[in-house]
Amino acid sequence: MAYDWLKGIEDHYDIVVIGSGLGGLTGANVLAKCGHKVLLLEHHYQLGGLATWFTRKGGHIFDISLHGFPIGMIKSVRKYWSQNIADSIVQLKGVRFINPQFSIDTTFDREDFTRQLVEKFKVAAGTVERFFTDLRAMNFYDSNPETTGQMFARYFPGRDDVQRLLMEPIAYANGSTLDDPAITFGIVFSNFMSKGVYTFQGGSDMLIRKMAAELKKNGVEVRKHVVVEKILTEDHAGRKRVAGVVANGRAIRCDTVLSNSNIKNTVLRLAGEESFSPEFVAQAKAVRVNSSSCQVYLGIRKGETLPHIGDLVFTSEEPVFSSEKLVDLHTTSRTFSMYYPDTRPGSDRYTVVVSINAKYEDWNAMTPEQYAAEKERLIEESIAALERHIPDVRAKIEWREAATPRTIEYYTRHWAGTSFGTKFEGLKVSMDLPAQLPGLYHAGSVGIIMSGWLGTINYGVIVANQIDKALAAKKRAAVPASA
Protein backbone atom coordinates (compact mmCIF):
# COMPACT_ATOMS: atom_id res chain seq x y z
CA MET A 1 0.00 0.00 0.00
CA ALA A 2 1.17 3.54 -0.74
CA TYR A 3 2.58 5.48 2.18
CA ASP A 4 0.06 7.87 3.75
CA TRP A 5 1.79 11.26 3.71
CA LEU A 6 -1.09 12.72 5.72
CA LYS A 7 -0.88 10.16 8.51
CA GLY A 8 -1.70 11.59 11.91
CA ILE A 9 -2.98 14.99 10.83
CA GLU A 10 -5.97 16.49 12.60
CA ASP A 11 -9.48 16.90 11.18
CA HIS A 12 -9.50 20.67 11.35
CA TYR A 13 -7.00 23.55 11.07
CA ASP A 14 -7.40 27.31 11.33
CA ILE A 15 -5.37 27.64 8.15
CA VAL A 16 -4.24 25.28 5.41
CA VAL A 17 -1.34 26.66 3.37
CA ILE A 18 -1.07 25.23 -0.16
CA GLY A 19 2.54 25.27 -1.30
CA SER A 20 5.89 25.90 0.34
CA GLY A 21 7.40 28.64 -1.80
CA LEU A 22 8.84 31.55 0.18
CA GLY A 23 5.41 33.21 0.25
CA GLY A 24 3.72 30.10 1.66
CA LEU A 25 6.51 29.31 4.12
CA THR A 26 6.60 32.86 5.47
CA GLY A 27 2.82 33.17 5.68
CA ALA A 28 2.68 29.87 7.59
CA ASN A 29 5.41 30.94 9.99
CA VAL A 30 3.89 34.34 10.78
CA LEU A 31 0.42 32.85 11.29
CA ALA A 32 1.75 30.15 13.61
CA LYS A 33 3.55 32.82 15.64
CA CYS A 34 0.19 34.62 15.92
CA GLY A 35 -1.12 31.50 17.66
CA HIS A 36 -3.09 29.86 14.84
CA LYS A 37 -3.16 26.18 13.99
CA VAL A 38 -1.48 25.83 10.60
CA LEU A 39 -1.10 22.89 8.19
CA LEU A 40 1.29 23.39 5.25
CA LEU A 41 1.01 21.06 2.25
CA GLU A 42 3.62 20.76 -0.50
CA HIS A 43 3.37 18.44 -3.49
CA HIS A 44 7.13 18.17 -4.04
CA TYR A 45 9.46 16.08 -1.86
CA GLN A 46 11.35 19.22 -0.87
CA LEU A 47 10.23 22.56 0.61
CA GLY A 48 11.05 25.95 -0.92
CA GLY A 49 9.22 26.06 -4.26
CA LEU A 50 11.52 27.90 -6.67
CA ALA A 51 13.90 28.67 -3.80
CA THR A 52 15.39 25.26 -4.30
CA TRP A 53 18.46 23.20 -5.14
CA PHE A 54 19.40 19.74 -6.34
CA THR A 55 22.41 17.50 -5.91
CA ARG A 56 24.18 15.30 -8.43
CA LYS A 57 26.72 12.50 -8.32
CA GLY A 58 30.22 13.83 -7.78
CA GLY A 59 29.19 16.12 -4.93
CA HIS A 60 27.62 18.83 -7.08
CA ILE A 61 24.97 21.09 -5.55
CA PHE A 62 23.05 23.44 -7.84
CA ASP A 63 20.99 26.40 -6.63
CA ILE A 64 18.06 27.36 -8.86
CA SER A 65 17.10 30.88 -7.78
CA LEU A 66 19.91 31.99 -5.50
CA HIS A 67 21.43 34.62 -7.78
CA GLY A 68 20.83 37.75 -5.80
CA PHE A 69 18.26 39.75 -3.88
CA PRO A 70 18.12 43.25 -2.37
CA ILE A 71 19.37 44.16 1.11
CA GLY A 72 15.77 44.35 2.34
CA MET A 73 16.01 40.56 2.77
CA ILE A 74 18.16 40.99 5.88
CA LYS A 75 15.43 42.86 7.68
CA SER A 76 12.55 40.72 6.45
CA VAL A 77 14.30 37.46 7.28
CA ARG A 78 15.22 38.74 10.74
CA LYS A 79 11.68 39.89 11.49
CA TYR A 80 9.68 37.02 9.99
CA TRP A 81 12.17 34.18 10.52
CA SER A 82 15.13 34.68 12.81
CA GLN A 83 18.27 36.68 13.44
CA ASN A 84 20.28 33.51 12.96
CA ILE A 85 18.98 33.00 9.41
CA ALA A 86 19.47 36.69 8.58
CA ASP A 87 23.09 36.48 9.74
CA SER A 88 23.97 34.33 6.70
CA ILE A 89 23.02 37.04 4.19
CA VAL A 90 26.11 38.56 2.55
CA GLN A 91 26.80 40.99 -0.27
CA LEU A 92 27.87 39.92 -3.78
CA LYS A 93 30.18 42.61 -5.00
CA GLY A 94 31.19 41.35 -8.43
CA VAL A 95 28.43 42.22 -10.90
CA ARG A 96 29.59 42.42 -14.51
CA PHE A 97 28.04 43.33 -17.85
CA ILE A 98 29.65 42.16 -21.07
CA ASN A 99 27.87 43.00 -24.35
CA PRO A 100 28.59 44.75 -27.66
CA GLN A 101 27.66 48.13 -26.16
CA PHE A 102 29.74 48.11 -22.98
CA SER A 103 31.72 46.10 -20.45
CA ILE A 104 31.55 47.21 -16.85
CA ASP A 105 32.18 45.94 -13.34
CA THR A 106 29.89 47.29 -10.67
CA THR A 107 28.66 46.76 -7.11
CA PHE A 108 25.16 47.42 -8.49
CA ASP A 109 24.18 50.16 -6.07
CA ARG A 110 23.10 53.75 -6.47
CA GLU A 111 26.47 55.22 -5.71
CA ASP A 112 28.36 53.10 -8.20
CA PHE A 113 25.65 53.31 -10.87
CA THR A 114 25.65 57.10 -10.57
CA ARG A 115 29.41 57.14 -11.02
CA GLN A 116 29.26 54.84 -14.07
CA LEU A 117 26.36 56.69 -15.67
CA VAL A 118 28.09 60.04 -15.27
CA GLU A 119 31.71 59.08 -16.01
CA LYS A 120 31.32 56.26 -18.49
CA PHE A 121 27.97 56.91 -20.11
CA LYS A 122 28.32 60.73 -19.92
CA VAL A 123 24.80 61.30 -18.61
CA ALA A 124 24.29 64.63 -16.79
CA ALA A 125 24.63 64.14 -13.03
CA GLY A 126 21.38 66.04 -12.43
CA THR A 127 19.44 63.64 -14.66
CA VAL A 128 20.81 60.59 -12.86
CA GLU A 129 20.00 62.11 -9.49
CA ARG A 130 16.45 62.97 -10.59
CA PHE A 131 15.94 59.46 -12.02
CA PHE A 132 16.95 57.73 -8.79
CA THR A 133 14.97 60.10 -6.59
CA ASP A 134 11.80 59.82 -8.70
CA LEU A 135 12.05 56.03 -8.76
CA ARG A 136 12.47 55.90 -5.00
CA ALA A 137 9.19 57.78 -4.58
CA MET A 138 7.12 55.29 -6.65
CA ASN A 139 4.30 53.44 -4.91
CA PHE A 140 2.57 50.32 -6.16
CA TYR A 141 -0.85 51.93 -5.73
CA ASP A 142 0.04 54.92 -7.93
CA SER A 143 -2.02 54.76 -11.09
CA ASN A 144 0.47 55.85 -13.69
CA PRO A 145 0.01 54.42 -17.19
CA GLU A 146 3.63 55.04 -18.19
CA THR A 147 5.60 51.97 -19.28
CA THR A 148 9.21 51.28 -18.38
CA GLY A 149 10.24 51.91 -22.00
CA GLN A 150 8.48 55.30 -22.03
CA MET A 151 10.08 56.22 -18.74
CA PHE A 152 13.58 55.45 -20.07
CA ALA A 153 12.82 57.56 -23.15
CA ARG A 154 11.82 60.44 -20.88
CA TYR A 155 15.02 60.45 -18.79
CA PHE A 156 17.51 59.05 -21.29
CA PRO A 157 16.17 59.76 -24.81
CA GLY A 158 17.96 57.83 -27.57
CA ARG A 159 20.22 56.01 -25.10
CA ASP A 160 19.94 52.32 -25.97
CA ASP A 161 23.02 51.63 -23.91
CA VAL A 162 21.68 53.21 -20.72
CA GLN A 163 18.39 51.39 -21.22
CA ARG A 164 20.29 48.13 -21.46
CA LEU A 165 22.30 48.75 -18.30
CA LEU A 166 19.15 49.54 -16.35
CA MET A 167 16.77 46.99 -17.84
CA GLU A 168 18.71 43.82 -18.55
CA PRO A 169 19.35 42.79 -14.93
CA ILE A 170 15.79 43.55 -13.89
CA ALA A 171 14.40 41.56 -16.81
CA TYR A 172 16.37 38.59 -15.44
CA ALA A 173 15.25 39.32 -11.91
CA ASN A 174 11.51 39.61 -12.49
CA GLY A 175 10.72 38.86 -16.13
CA SER A 176 9.40 42.36 -16.75
CA THR A 177 9.61 43.98 -20.17
CA LEU A 178 9.81 47.50 -21.55
CA ASP A 179 6.02 47.36 -22.05
CA ASP A 180 5.18 46.70 -18.39
CA PRO A 181 4.14 49.55 -16.06
CA ALA A 182 7.14 51.66 -15.02
CA ILE A 183 6.62 50.85 -11.33
CA THR A 184 7.33 47.14 -11.97
CA PHE A 185 10.81 48.25 -12.90
CA GLY A 186 11.08 51.15 -10.47
CA ILE A 187 10.25 49.36 -7.24
CA VAL A 188 12.49 46.36 -7.86
CA PHE A 189 15.35 48.43 -9.25
CA SER A 190 15.22 50.85 -6.31
CA ASN A 191 15.29 47.96 -3.86
CA PHE A 192 18.50 46.67 -5.43
CA MET A 193 20.07 50.10 -5.83
CA SER A 194 19.67 50.91 -2.16
CA LYS A 195 22.70 48.79 -1.15
CA GLY A 196 23.53 46.31 -3.93
CA VAL A 197 23.02 42.57 -4.42
CA TYR A 198 22.96 40.03 -1.60
CA THR A 199 23.01 36.25 -1.34
CA PHE A 200 22.50 33.57 1.25
CA GLN A 201 25.77 32.05 2.36
CA GLY A 202 25.34 28.34 2.95
CA GLY A 203 23.09 27.89 -0.07
CA SER A 204 19.36 27.39 -0.63
CA ASP A 205 19.55 24.02 1.12
CA MET A 206 20.74 25.56 4.37
CA LEU A 207 18.18 28.36 4.16
CA ILE A 208 15.27 25.99 3.67
CA ARG A 209 16.53 23.59 6.34
CA LYS A 210 16.67 26.44 8.84
CA MET A 211 13.23 27.67 7.83
CA ALA A 212 11.80 24.16 8.26
CA ALA A 213 13.28 23.98 11.77
CA GLU A 214 11.73 27.34 12.60
CA LEU A 215 8.30 26.20 11.35
CA LYS A 216 8.54 23.14 13.53
CA LYS A 217 9.50 25.20 16.55
CA ASN A 218 6.50 27.45 15.97
CA GLY A 219 4.11 24.51 15.68
CA VAL A 220 3.35 24.40 11.95
CA GLU A 221 2.37 20.92 10.75
CA VAL A 222 4.33 20.45 7.52
CA ARG A 223 3.62 17.68 5.00
CA LYS A 224 5.45 17.03 1.73
CA HIS A 225 4.36 14.74 -1.14
CA VAL A 226 0.83 16.10 -0.74
CA VAL A 227 -1.03 17.59 -3.70
CA VAL A 228 -4.00 19.77 -2.97
CA GLU A 229 -6.54 18.84 -5.61
CA LYS A 230 -9.46 21.03 -4.65
CA ILE A 231 -10.51 23.84 -2.35
CA LEU A 232 -13.84 22.96 -0.71
CA THR A 233 -16.58 25.52 -0.17
CA GLU A 234 -19.90 25.48 1.64
CA ASP A 235 -22.90 27.77 1.72
CA HIS A 236 -23.04 30.08 4.67
CA ALA A 237 -25.95 32.51 5.04
CA GLY A 238 -26.58 32.36 1.31
CA ARG A 239 -22.92 32.78 0.38
CA LYS A 240 -20.14 30.44 -0.48
CA ARG A 241 -17.13 30.34 1.81
CA VAL A 242 -14.08 28.14 2.24
CA ALA A 243 -14.65 24.93 4.20
CA GLY A 244 -11.48 22.93 3.57
CA VAL A 245 -9.34 21.24 0.97
CA VAL A 246 -9.06 17.86 -0.70
CA ALA A 247 -5.45 16.70 -0.58
CA ASN A 248 -4.15 13.30 -1.77
CA GLY A 249 -7.82 12.35 -1.99
CA ARG A 250 -8.63 13.21 1.60
CA ALA A 251 -10.85 16.07 2.87
CA ILE A 252 -9.30 18.32 5.51
CA ARG A 253 -11.48 20.97 7.12
CA CYS A 254 -10.24 24.51 7.79
CA ASP A 255 -11.51 28.09 8.20
CA THR A 256 -8.99 29.63 5.85
CA VAL A 257 -6.88 28.61 2.89
CA LEU A 258 -3.70 30.47 2.04
CA SER A 259 -2.75 29.43 -1.47
CA ASN A 260 0.85 29.84 -2.57
CA SER A 261 -0.01 28.11 -5.82
CA ASN A 262 -0.04 30.34 -8.89
CA ILE A 263 -3.04 32.73 -8.79
CA LYS A 264 -4.57 31.34 -11.99
CA ASN A 265 -4.27 27.77 -10.69
CA THR A 266 -5.81 28.90 -7.40
CA VAL A 267 -8.87 30.51 -8.96
CA LEU A 268 -9.46 28.43 -12.07
CA ARG A 269 -8.30 24.97 -11.02
CA LEU A 270 -8.24 24.68 -7.21
CA ALA A 271 -11.33 26.68 -6.20
CA GLY A 272 -12.84 26.35 -9.66
CA GLU A 273 -14.92 28.69 -11.78
CA GLU A 274 -18.11 27.63 -9.95
CA SER A 275 -16.87 29.34 -6.78
CA PHE A 276 -16.81 32.85 -8.27
CA SER A 277 -18.85 35.39 -10.18
CA PRO A 278 -18.45 35.28 -13.98
CA GLU A 279 -16.83 38.74 -13.87
CA PHE A 280 -14.13 37.58 -11.47
CA VAL A 281 -13.49 34.42 -13.48
CA ALA A 282 -13.07 36.59 -16.57
CA GLN A 283 -10.59 38.79 -14.69
CA ALA A 284 -8.59 35.76 -13.55
CA LYS A 285 -8.53 34.34 -17.07
CA ALA A 286 -7.30 37.65 -18.44
CA VAL A 287 -4.27 37.68 -16.12
CA ARG A 288 -1.12 37.20 -18.20
CA VAL A 289 1.72 35.15 -16.74
CA ASN A 290 5.33 36.23 -17.02
CA SER A 291 7.93 34.52 -19.14
CA SER A 292 9.77 31.43 -18.01
CA SER A 293 13.41 30.37 -17.86
CA CYS A 294 15.95 27.87 -19.01
CA GLN A 295 19.03 27.06 -16.97
CA VAL A 296 22.24 25.21 -17.66
CA TYR A 297 24.00 23.64 -14.68
CA LEU A 298 27.73 23.06 -14.90
CA GLY A 299 29.42 21.14 -12.09
CA ILE A 300 33.20 21.51 -11.81
CA ARG A 301 35.16 18.34 -10.98
CA LYS A 302 36.43 18.04 -7.41
CA GLY A 303 39.97 19.38 -7.13
CA GLU A 304 39.61 21.80 -10.06
CA THR A 305 39.30 25.54 -9.48
CA LEU A 306 37.94 28.48 -11.46
CA PRO A 307 39.37 32.00 -11.53
CA HIS A 308 37.20 34.75 -10.04
CA ILE A 309 35.42 36.29 -13.02
CA GLY A 310 32.68 37.98 -11.00
CA ASP A 311 29.64 36.67 -9.13
CA LEU A 312 26.90 37.60 -11.56
CA VAL A 313 27.95 38.08 -15.15
CA PHE A 314 25.33 39.44 -17.55
CA THR A 315 26.45 38.57 -21.07
CA SER A 316 24.86 39.08 -24.44
CA GLU A 317 25.85 39.26 -28.07
CA GLU A 318 22.70 41.15 -29.11
CA PRO A 319 23.60 44.56 -30.56
CA VAL A 320 21.01 46.31 -28.36
CA PHE A 321 18.63 45.26 -25.60
CA SER A 322 15.21 44.04 -26.65
CA SER A 323 12.61 42.38 -24.43
CA GLU A 324 11.58 40.08 -27.31
CA LYS A 325 15.13 38.98 -28.09
CA LEU A 326 15.77 38.22 -24.43
CA VAL A 327 13.18 35.42 -24.42
CA ASP A 328 13.84 34.19 -27.96
CA LEU A 329 14.62 30.48 -28.32
CA HIS A 330 17.95 31.41 -29.90
CA THR A 331 18.86 34.29 -27.62
CA THR A 332 22.52 34.96 -26.92
CA SER A 333 21.71 36.69 -23.63
CA ARG A 334 22.77 34.69 -20.60
CA THR A 335 23.52 35.37 -16.97
CA PHE A 336 26.33 33.36 -15.43
CA SER A 337 25.97 32.87 -11.70
CA MET A 338 29.38 31.80 -10.46
CA TYR A 339 29.37 29.81 -7.23
CA TYR A 340 32.80 29.77 -5.62
CA PRO A 341 33.64 27.69 -2.53
CA ASP A 342 32.58 30.48 -0.16
CA THR A 343 28.97 29.96 -1.31
CA ARG A 344 28.98 27.04 1.11
CA PRO A 345 31.70 27.72 3.67
CA GLY A 346 33.74 24.62 4.31
CA SER A 347 33.26 23.38 0.76
CA ASP A 348 35.98 23.48 -1.92
CA ARG A 349 33.59 23.17 -4.85
CA TYR A 350 32.75 25.37 -7.85
CA THR A 351 29.57 25.38 -9.90
CA VAL A 352 28.17 27.60 -12.63
CA VAL A 353 24.46 28.16 -13.26
CA VAL A 354 23.56 29.82 -16.54
CA SER A 355 20.13 31.49 -16.62
CA ILE A 356 18.35 32.28 -19.85
CA ASN A 357 14.88 33.79 -20.11
CA ALA A 358 12.51 31.74 -22.24
CA LYS A 359 8.99 31.26 -23.54
CA TYR A 360 6.95 28.25 -22.43
CA GLU A 361 5.22 27.97 -25.83
CA ASP A 362 8.52 27.41 -27.63
CA TRP A 363 9.52 24.53 -25.40
CA ASN A 364 6.11 23.00 -24.93
CA ALA A 365 5.63 22.60 -28.68
CA MET A 366 8.71 20.39 -29.16
CA THR A 367 8.73 16.67 -29.92
CA PRO A 368 10.79 14.55 -27.49
CA GLU A 369 13.67 14.40 -30.01
CA GLN A 370 13.63 18.15 -30.60
CA TYR A 371 13.43 18.75 -26.87
CA ALA A 372 16.52 16.65 -26.19
CA ALA A 373 18.40 18.29 -29.08
CA GLU A 374 17.49 21.83 -28.01
CA LYS A 375 18.60 21.15 -24.44
CA GLU A 376 21.92 19.88 -25.76
CA ARG A 377 22.28 23.01 -27.92
CA LEU A 378 21.62 25.19 -24.89
CA ILE A 379 24.34 23.40 -22.92
CA GLU A 380 26.86 23.60 -25.78
CA GLU A 381 26.22 27.30 -26.42
CA SER A 382 26.51 28.10 -22.73
CA ILE A 383 29.85 26.30 -22.39
CA ALA A 384 31.14 28.02 -25.54
CA ALA A 385 30.12 31.39 -24.13
CA LEU A 386 31.81 30.63 -20.83
CA GLU A 387 35.01 29.60 -22.62
CA ARG A 388 35.40 33.20 -23.70
CA HIS A 389 35.95 34.15 -20.07
CA ILE A 390 37.54 30.91 -18.82
CA PRO A 391 39.27 29.31 -21.85
CA ASP A 392 40.06 25.96 -20.20
CA VAL A 393 36.71 25.50 -18.48
CA ARG A 394 35.36 22.69 -20.68
CA ALA A 395 37.82 20.11 -19.41
CA LYS A 396 36.94 20.95 -15.81
CA ILE A 397 33.23 20.34 -16.21
CA GLU A 398 32.12 17.01 -14.79
CA TRP A 399 28.34 17.45 -14.77
CA ARG A 400 26.21 19.23 -17.38
CA GLU A 401 22.44 19.44 -17.42
CA ALA A 402 19.71 21.78 -18.61
CA ALA A 403 16.28 22.78 -17.30
CA THR A 404 13.52 24.37 -19.35
CA PRO A 405 10.10 25.96 -18.80
CA ARG A 406 8.75 22.41 -18.77
CA THR A 407 10.99 21.54 -15.82
CA ILE A 408 9.60 24.48 -13.86
CA GLU A 409 6.04 23.46 -14.69
CA TYR A 410 6.74 19.90 -13.58
CA TYR A 411 8.20 20.82 -10.20
CA THR A 412 6.02 23.77 -9.21
CA ARG A 413 2.82 23.08 -11.20
CA HIS A 414 2.93 26.73 -12.24
CA TRP A 415 0.68 27.92 -15.01
CA ALA A 416 2.71 27.80 -18.24
CA GLY A 417 5.86 27.16 -16.22
CA THR A 418 6.10 30.82 -15.27
CA SER A 419 9.26 31.75 -13.37
CA PHE A 420 8.09 35.12 -12.22
CA GLY A 421 4.36 34.81 -11.50
CA THR A 422 2.02 37.16 -13.29
CA LYS A 423 1.93 40.53 -14.96
CA PHE A 424 0.75 43.55 -12.98
CA GLU A 425 -3.02 42.79 -13.23
CA GLY A 426 -2.50 39.56 -11.24
CA LEU A 427 -1.96 41.56 -8.06
CA LYS A 428 -5.52 42.88 -8.08
CA VAL A 429 -7.02 39.41 -8.58
CA SER A 430 -4.84 38.09 -5.75
CA MET A 431 -5.81 40.89 -3.37
CA ASP A 432 -9.53 40.70 -4.26
CA LEU A 433 -9.71 36.97 -3.62
CA PRO A 434 -10.99 37.00 0.01
CA ALA A 435 -13.77 39.43 -0.92
CA GLN A 436 -14.82 37.08 -3.73
CA LEU A 437 -14.66 33.84 -1.75
CA PRO A 438 -14.48 34.44 2.02
CA GLY A 439 -11.74 32.39 3.62
CA LEU A 440 -9.56 32.12 0.50
CA TYR A 441 -6.31 34.08 0.33
CA HIS A 442 -3.37 34.01 -2.05
CA ALA A 443 0.29 34.87 -1.49
CA GLY A 444 2.93 34.20 -4.11
CA SER A 445 4.55 35.82 -7.12
CA VAL A 446 2.02 38.20 -8.64
CA GLY A 447 2.04 41.60 -10.24
CA ILE A 448 5.80 41.50 -10.88
CA ILE A 449 6.45 43.61 -7.77
CA MET A 450 5.34 40.86 -5.37
CA SER A 451 7.84 38.41 -6.79
CA GLY A 452 11.41 37.40 -6.17
CA TRP A 453 12.60 36.21 -2.77
CA LEU A 454 12.00 39.53 -1.02
CA GLY A 455 8.70 40.28 -2.75
CA THR A 456 7.15 36.91 -1.97
CA ILE A 457 8.35 36.90 1.64
CA ASN A 458 6.86 40.33 2.23
CA TYR A 459 3.66 39.46 0.39
CA GLY A 460 3.33 36.36 2.59
CA VAL A 461 3.42 38.67 5.63
CA ILE A 462 0.95 41.16 4.17
CA VAL A 463 -1.55 38.37 3.52
CA ALA A 464 -0.85 36.70 6.88
CA ASN A 465 -1.82 39.99 8.53
CA GLN A 466 -5.17 39.98 6.69
CA ILE A 467 -5.83 36.39 7.75
CA ASP A 468 -4.87 37.08 11.36
CA LYS A 469 -7.16 40.09 11.37
CA ALA A 470 -10.11 38.05 10.04
CA LEU A 471 -9.50 35.17 12.47
CA ALA A 472 -9.06 37.55 15.42
CA ALA A 473 -12.39 39.22 14.56
CA LYS A 474 -14.05 35.81 14.37
CA LYS A 475 -12.65 34.81 17.75
CA ARG A 476 -13.78 38.12 19.28
CA ALA A 477 -17.30 37.61 17.90
CA ALA A 478 -17.43 34.10 19.37
CA VAL A 479 -16.41 35.23 22.89
CA PRO A 480 -18.56 37.71 24.85
CA ALA A 481 -16.64 40.98 25.37
CA SER A 482 -16.63 40.67 29.18
CA ALA A 483 -15.22 37.12 29.23
Binding site: V30, C34, S76, K79, V461, N465, D468, K469, A472
Partner: protein
Amino acid sequence: MTKEDCKKLVIDIISDIAPDEDLTAIKPEVKLRDQLQLDSMDFLDIVMELRKRHGIEVPEADYSHLASLESCAEYLTPKFAAKA
Protein backbone atom coordinates in the same frame (compact mmCIF):
# COMPACT_ATOMS: atom_id res chain seq x y z
CA MET B 1 -3.83 54.23 30.86
CA THR B 2 -2.21 57.60 30.24
CA LYS B 3 -0.87 58.78 26.91
CA GLU B 4 2.63 58.37 28.31
CA ASP B 5 1.94 54.70 29.11
CA CYS B 6 0.62 54.25 25.61
CA LYS B 7 3.77 55.77 24.07
CA LYS B 8 5.83 53.34 26.12
CA LEU B 9 3.90 50.37 24.73
CA VAL B 10 4.42 51.63 21.18
CA ILE B 11 8.14 52.10 21.81
CA ASP B 12 8.31 48.56 23.21
CA ILE B 13 6.90 47.28 19.93
CA ILE B 14 9.21 49.40 17.77
CA SER B 15 12.25 48.27 19.76
CA ASP B 16 11.48 44.68 18.77
CA ILE B 17 10.84 45.53 15.13
CA ALA B 18 13.91 47.76 14.78
CA PRO B 19 16.40 46.57 17.40
CA ASP B 20 19.28 48.58 15.92
CA GLU B 21 17.55 51.94 16.27
CA ASP B 22 18.23 54.29 19.18
CA LEU B 23 14.78 54.98 20.59
CA THR B 24 15.82 57.06 23.59
CA ALA B 25 15.69 60.37 21.75
CA ILE B 26 12.52 60.01 19.66
CA LYS B 27 10.72 63.31 19.23
CA PRO B 28 7.02 62.60 19.83
CA GLU B 29 5.79 65.26 17.41
CA VAL B 30 8.04 64.29 14.51
CA LYS B 31 7.01 61.55 12.07
CA LEU B 32 8.56 58.22 13.02
CA ARG B 33 9.63 57.68 9.39
CA ASP B 34 11.63 60.91 9.48
CA GLN B 35 13.67 59.86 12.52
CA LEU B 36 13.94 56.09 12.13
CA GLN B 37 14.59 53.68 9.26
CA LEU B 38 11.00 52.43 9.15
CA ASP B 39 9.29 51.29 5.95
CA SER B 40 5.71 50.28 5.19
CA MET B 41 6.40 46.68 6.27
CA ASP B 42 7.51 47.96 9.69
CA PHE B 43 4.23 49.83 10.10
CA LEU B 44 2.37 46.65 9.18
CA ASP B 45 4.36 44.92 11.94
CA ILE B 46 3.26 47.58 14.43
CA VAL B 47 -0.36 46.88 13.47
CA MET B 48 0.15 43.13 13.87
CA GLU B 49 1.85 43.53 17.25
CA LEU B 50 -0.92 45.80 18.56
CA ARG B 51 -3.39 43.06 17.67
CA LYS B 52 -1.26 40.25 19.07
CA ARG B 53 -0.14 41.88 22.31
CA HIS B 54 -3.09 44.12 23.14
CA GLY B 55 -6.06 42.91 21.08
CA ILE B 56 -6.26 46.29 19.34
CA GLU B 57 -7.32 46.46 15.72
CA VAL B 58 -6.15 49.35 13.54
CA PRO B 59 -8.18 49.43 10.30
CA GLU B 60 -6.18 50.19 7.16
CA ALA B 61 -7.93 53.53 6.75
CA ASP B 62 -6.48 54.60 10.12
CA TYR B 63 -2.83 53.69 9.45
CA SER B 64 -2.01 57.40 9.07
CA HIS B 65 -2.70 57.84 12.80
CA LEU B 66 0.45 55.83 13.48
CA ALA B 67 2.70 58.44 11.85
CA SER B 68 4.23 59.94 15.01
CA LEU B 69 4.47 58.85 18.64
CA GLU B 70 2.13 61.67 19.62
CA SER B 71 -0.50 60.77 17.01
CA CYS B 72 -0.18 57.10 18.05
CA ALA B 73 -0.93 58.04 21.65
CA GLU B 74 -3.80 60.29 20.62
CA TYR B 75 -5.37 57.53 18.54
CA LEU B 76 -4.56 54.45 20.62
CA THR B 77 -5.10 55.64 24.22
CA PRO B 78 -8.93 55.64 23.90
CA LYS B 79 -8.71 52.17 22.32
CA PHE B 80 -6.72 50.91 25.30
CA ALA B 81 -9.20 52.59 27.65
CA ALA B 82 -12.13 50.88 25.92
CA LYS B 83 -10.47 47.52 26.54
CA ALA B 84 -9.85 48.04 30.23
